[in-house]
């Protein structure tokens, strides 16, 4: 059964610090216009590193919106 | 206890008895002469009542602890003297802006600095109002007898609870260390005021939204009303803001809730004032000498009277103004170099002469000294 969860963001909370970008093992994320941007959603392995590391609770793995 | 219900009690002890009668169940303090008995007697008496005493590492911590204790729902007090009072100032301001009720007793001794640790003085009258930084409300009461120490400690708690503000109980060594008769009052004879609690549901609680009386109801931590308390200028929700309008409104309300209600707690004594041309204004220990002096002066056919503020802050403007309208001369007698007199002058000097009788030598001003200063014999 495929994981129903997906990478979610709260863009206004994101400060573009790049911590998630650095930790993402599969290079899903990039910084664009000072915000985190999901550049390669398909590469996401739902490892949760971004969620664990984001100081701003601005990115997480959650139920499909 | 004698037939009429009196007992010989020390002033500092009376303060504890009053506090317990008012419902104090938490005391945090740090020893300092001449207030130490207040801590010692609290340590002895509180636990039997289910109350708690803690000796903190210093006065900064003592003040912090009674604020914390109050927020957790207890009626709390600390007691100190000059040096410790200076150290408590920062957190007194915190209690003021966060509107957390508590009572701070300062048994005044000779200053400045370590000064004369075991001698009476009244050097902290102005500090009781202006000691902490920034504009803030100030209530201070000053008893002049053991009985009054008991009764006005109760009132100090009542005012703290009613107005959600720290109340300074400003004693002096004379009153703190003297022993005289005191009537223990029964709980039923004493008016006790408890802080107003919210009646709304927790989700509707806006922690710093004042009722019409300018005072927001206060929920103790732990009862389901989760809210935020901060010493930063905050809005009605309690969260920091630097909105100019809200900031101004907060500080003004804090001060107004006290100043505009002064009629509710304008405590004072008038003695032979009806026809007095010479009015002595005195408070605390000195007022006892002043009363004797009035009697002596009357014997010399000098029409003297005494106005004795018990509420020292806010200043009893209305009453002092009235007194000054009928007086020729006002003498303010204080064990300091002239503190309360500044406020008296401000209000009274349009109407009459204001003079100062001061003493800072570590001894109570005597009736003779007052009589002499006024120009009577002896």
């Amino acid at each position: 059964m495929a994981d129903e969860r997906i990478l979610l963001q709260n863009i206004p909370w994101c400060k573009g610090c790049g911590v998630c970008v650095g930790f993402c093992p599969t290079k899903v994320l990039e910084i664009k216009d000072n915000k985190c941007f999901i550049a390669n959603r398909d590469k996401c392995i739902l490892c949760g590193q971004c969620e664990l590391r984001c100081p701003d609770n601005a990115i997480w793995i959650g139920g499909k919106k | 206890m004698n037939k009429e219900g009196y007992k010989l009690v020390q002033g500092n002890e009376a303060c504890v008895e009053g506090a317990l009668a008012a419902g104090m169940r938490f005391f945090a303090g740090y020893p300092i002469t001449p207030s130490t008995e207040i801590a010692e007697i609290s340590a002895e008496k509180l636990p039997a009542l289910g109350g708690r005493f803690i000796q903190m590492e210093d006065e900064l911590a003592s003040m912090a602890a009674i604020i914390g204790g109050s927020l957790a729902g207890k009626k709390t007090m600390t007691a100190t003297s000059g040096p410790g009072f200076s150290l408590m100032q920062e957190n007194i301001g915190y209690a003021a802006i966060t509107e957390i009720p508590c009572v701070v007793v300062n048994v005044q001794r000779g200053g400045p600095s370590t000064g004369l640790p075991t001698s009476p003085a009244q050097g902290e009258v102005m500090q009781a109002k202006w000691g902490t930084h920034g504009d803030h409300p100030a209530i201070a009461l000053t008893p002049n007898s053991v009985q009054e120490t008991f009764e006005y400690t109760v009132k100090a708690f009542n005012l703290a609870e009613k107005y959600r503000t720290p109340v300074i109980f400003l004693m002096d060594e004379t009153v703190g260390h003297m022993r005289e008769k005191m009537a223990f009052k029964d709980a039923s004879e004493i008016e006790i005021i408890d802080r107003k609690k919210p009646t709304c549901k927790p989700e509707d609680y806006v922690a710093y939204r004042p009722d019409e009386d300018m005072i927001p109801p206060m929920a103790p931590f732990g009862e389901g009303y989760r809210y935020h308390v901060s010493g930063l200028t905050h809005d009605e929700t309690g969260f920091p803001t630097n909105n100019n309008e809200i900031s101004e409104k907060l500080v003004r309300r804090l001060v107004d809730k006290v100043d505009k209600n002064i009629d509710d707690f304008s405590y004072y004594e008038e003695y032979k004032l009806e026809d007095a041309e010479i009015v002595i204004i005195a408070y605390g220990g000195v007022s006892r000498s002043a009363k004797s002096a009035v009697d002596d002066l009357r014997k010399q056919n000098i029409k003297a009277g005494l106005f004795r503020p018990i509420t020292i802050w806010p200043f009893l403007e209305k009453q002092v103004n009235k007194v000054s309208l009928n007086a020729k001369e006002i003498y303010v007698a204080e064990m300091n170099l002239g503190q309360y007199v500044l406020e008296v002058e401000r209000i009274a000097c349009k109407n009459c002469t204001v003079k100062s009788i001061n003493k800072v030598n570590g001894e109570l001003i005597t009736p003779e000294e007052i009589v002499k200063a006024i120009g009577g014999n002896k």
Binding site: - | M1, N2, K3, E4, Y6, K7, L8, T33, P34, L116, P117, T118, S119, T174, H177, M178, R179, E180, K181, G285, R288, S289, K291, S292, D295, L364, T366, P367, E368
Partner: protein, 178 residues
């Protein structure tokens, strides 16, 4: 009685403050107005110690003694310091060890207080209560009932010393009677 002003002086540790408290306490129990004060000093340790009691039917305002009606001095230092505060026709009670200046205008009772404490009670600790007995005796009759005094002592001294102290009180009365 209108007003009685009593000063008790000695050296720190002699217990004159406790004696003063017992006396004031008895005054209150008797239904009088009573006030008790004492002087502390940063240098009080070892130095002169002073306690005051005012008894009165009327309200007592100024809480300190202006001129004492009765002065107790257990030491030379205390006597030297305070004897001038006694009113002209007051009563001076001193321990026999005190050398008087000689120009006393007031009634003087030189009593072997310290010696009696040591010899009869084998402790200096009761000197204050012996003194209290003497003061009580010389204070004048009918001001405070004796049983009230005894009760006041009983209440304020450590439980295991009650007997010794009430005995000392009686001894003080005896000494004063001469």
């Amino acid at each position: 009685m209108k007003k009685l002003e009593i000063r008790l002086s000695g050296s720190g540790g002699q217990g004159v403050i406790l004696a003063a408290i017992i006396l004031a306490n008895a005054g209150v129990e008797q239904g009088l107005n009573a006030i008790q004060t004492q002087s502390y000093g940063p240098e009080a340790r070892g130095g002169a110690s002073k306690a005051e009691v005012i008894l009165s039917n009327d309200e007592i305002n100024y809480p300190k003694i202006t001129r004492a009606n009765i002065l107790l001095s257990l030491t030379q230092k205390a006597y030297d310091k305070y004897n001038s505060s006694l009113e002209t026709n007051g009563i001076l009670i001193v321990d026999e060890s005190v050398k008087l200046s000689g120009d006393e205008t007031f009634k003087v009772y030189t009593l072997p207080i310290l010696r009696t404490a040591q010899e009869k009670f084998e402790t200096q600790l009761v000197a204050n209560i012996i003194s209290l007995g003497a003061i009580y005796e010389l204070m004048g009759e009918g001001i405070i009932d004796k049983d009230i005094m005894i009760r006041s002592i009983t209440e304020r001294v450590p439980a295991h010393t009650v007997q010794k102290n009430t005995d000392a009180f009686e001894e003080g009365i005896k000494l004063a009677r001469g």
